[in-house]
């Protein structure tokens, strides 16, 4: 009896947050499905148009390509930073960590703005190169996939570094020492002993970056200049320019399903619970 009333009290603590999340978030997000099959007319017309449209196909292709390249870039660059912070302790280690956290706390909007200032036609990179006589005409560093990728990798890097670092800090150095003692070179010990132990951290970093990159809007919209239409920007474009709510909603459902599929596939290889729910 007391157990039942206790459980009831625990649910009183849980309910307010859970209720507003379900009513004001889950319900409207699921409601998008309804818009996609009722506007402009009932039926699956929007989905037919979506599948038939080559612009939509291109947009999905760009989205997955940008997300994949961003993920690989973040993985490689982030691994080097995480490895150094975790394994070469020095007086500068706290500084290195602070330098990872600083951009993490600065808003994506500001970081994208910095890249516009740097990469624009008369941006600082082009101006400097011209003043130094390296180039005559400005390079196209922005309003193309290159600019989007540079800024996306910059924005996403901390999301790759932090989980990898958390994982590396839990790895004991005895195995690498044993391998070294048995005659393995530093590179061999790293490749065949250390690297495999870091795979869980790598997988969480990869998953976080990929899922976030799939739905990213701000950076591609600002750096892409309308030429790198990732699916999120394509959706707003449909809605704001053409008031095509039905098609925009159908695309949203498709993006949502794509994200869910990535998570479901990832769940077969990694422990989603420890990556998402029990994050430190």
């Amino acid at each position: 009896m007391t157990q039942i009333t206790d459980n009831f009290r625990y649910w009183i603590l849980i309910m307010p947050a859970l209720a507003i999340m379900i009513i004001f978030y889950i319900y409207p997000v699921l409601g998008i499905w309804q818009i996609s099959v009722t506007e402009p007319e009932a039926g699956f017309g929007n989905y037919v148009r979506m599948v038939d449209s080559s612009a939509v196909r291109t947009s999905f292709l760009i989205t997955f390509r940008v997300a994949a390249i961003t993920t690989v870039g973040c993985l490689i660059l982030g691994y080097i930073v995480a490895y150094t912070i975790a394994n070469f302790a020095s007086r500068l280690t706290p500084l290195m960590l602070a330098l990872v956290l600083l951009p993490f706390w600065v808003s994506v909007l500001i970081r994208s703005f910095s890249w516009i200032v740097l990469l624009g036609r008369s941006g600082l990179v082009n101006d400097t190169l011209r003043d130094m006589g390296f180039i005559d005409a400005p390079l196209r560093l922005m309003h193309n996939e290159l600019g989007v990728l540079i800024a996306m990798i910059h924005v996403m890097l901390p999301f790759a570094i932090l989980p990898m670092l958390a994982n590396m800090r839990g790895i004991s150095d005895t195995y690498v020492k044993a391998a070294r003692g048995l005659g393995a070179s530093e590179w061999t010990a790293f490749r065949s002993v250390y690297l495999p132990q870091t795979l869980p951290g790598v997988m969480s970093g990869v998953l976080l970056v990929f899922v976030l990159a799939l739905g990213f809007y701000i950076t591609p919209a600002l750096l892409g200049g309308g030429r790198v239409l990732m699916i999120s920007e394509y959706i707003t474009y449909q809605i704001q320019e053409f008031l095509a709510w039905g098609l925009g909603s159908a695309l949203s459902v498709a993006l949502l399903i794509a994200t869910a599929l990535v998570l479901l596939i990832a769940a077969r290889f990694v422990n989603l619970r420890s990556i998402l729910l029990d994050r430190k």
């Binding site: 947050a17 080097i80 910059h154 809605i239």
Partner: protein
């Protein structure tokens, strides 16, 4: 001392190069904000504070800043209160149902921002919340809740359940135990959650673009519109102030840790 190997040189130089890539682009807004020109670029003939003056005297910029700050504080307070109660309840229960509830609460982290903004927009129209402060606060609170619930739950992971049994055994009610034993243990997580929630709200832009028109203008919205319409160096001044503020906060955090 060991000789420094090529292996080590590769990783250490590589790491500093990547850190330079991470941080230097942020600092570029500092010289640009001090430009004496009326367009984005490095100072030509000298340094000027005109863009800071413009920011600090412009009614629109100031009111947007103030709006973002107070909405952020309200959102952080609401999200911390709701999220802490939620996490404590889930921690007590620790059964399958409570785990499903925890998954539901972190959904906003995974849903693409544009998709959730679309959902908000349609529902907020029905509720009459478009272009209202209440609408923005509600949306931001929902987006901030995952971060609070994760950090509070992480703080409770180290709390010994025997202490709860002792408290209950000595006659404390669920509420007394929650207030006197669990909440103090959750406090570090609540503080982290509060900061996270404030920043989530303070930086949020996509939902604000969908659910506000002219009535509500936040700082990110001003910056966004400024970038879209005409890039004037006032944005660089605002960006510099925000970067420096973050720099100071990060430095304090790093010093306190070490």
């Amino acid at each position: 001392m060991m000789p420094i190997s090529a292996f080590r040189i590769f990783f250490q130089t590589g790491a500093w190069a990547v850190l330079a890539f991470l941080v230097l682009p942020l600092l570029i807004v500092i010289p640009v904000s001090l430009t004496d020109t009326s367009f984005i670029g490095l100072p030509r003939d000298g340094l000027s504070l005109q863009h800071y003056e413009n920011y600090l005297t412009d009614r629109e910029w100031l009111s947007a800043t103030w709006t973002s700050i107070w909405i952020g504080v309200v959102v952080a307070s609401l999200a911390t209160a709701l999220g802490t109660a939620f996490s404590i309840g889930c921690w007590f229960l620790s059964n399958r149902a409570s785990q499903i509830a925890r998954w539901i609460l972190i959904v906003p982290i995974l849903v693409p921002p544009v998709v959730q903004a679309l959902g908000f927009y349609r529902f907020w129209v029905q509720l009459g919340l478009i272009d209202t402060y209440a609408g923005v606060i509600l949306a931001h609170t929902l987006l901030a809740l995952p971060y609070v619930s994760i950090s509070v739950f992480a703080a409770l992971a180290n709390l010994d359940r025997n202490i709860i049994r002792a408290a209950r055994g000595l006659g404390a009610s669920v509420w007394q135990t929650t207030l006197a034993v669990v909440t103090p243990a959750a406090r570090p997580g609540m503080m982290t959650g509060f900061v996270f929630a404030f920043i989530v709200s303070f930086d949020e832009i996509v939902s604000v673009l969908f659910i506000t028109v002219r009535g509500v203008t936040t700082l990110p919205k001003m910056i966004w519109e400024g970038i879209q319409e005409n890039i004037d160096p006032t944005i660089a001044a605002v960006a510099t102030l925000l970067v420096l503020l973050t720099l100071i906060a990060t430095a304090i955090g790093a010093l306190r840790r070490s």
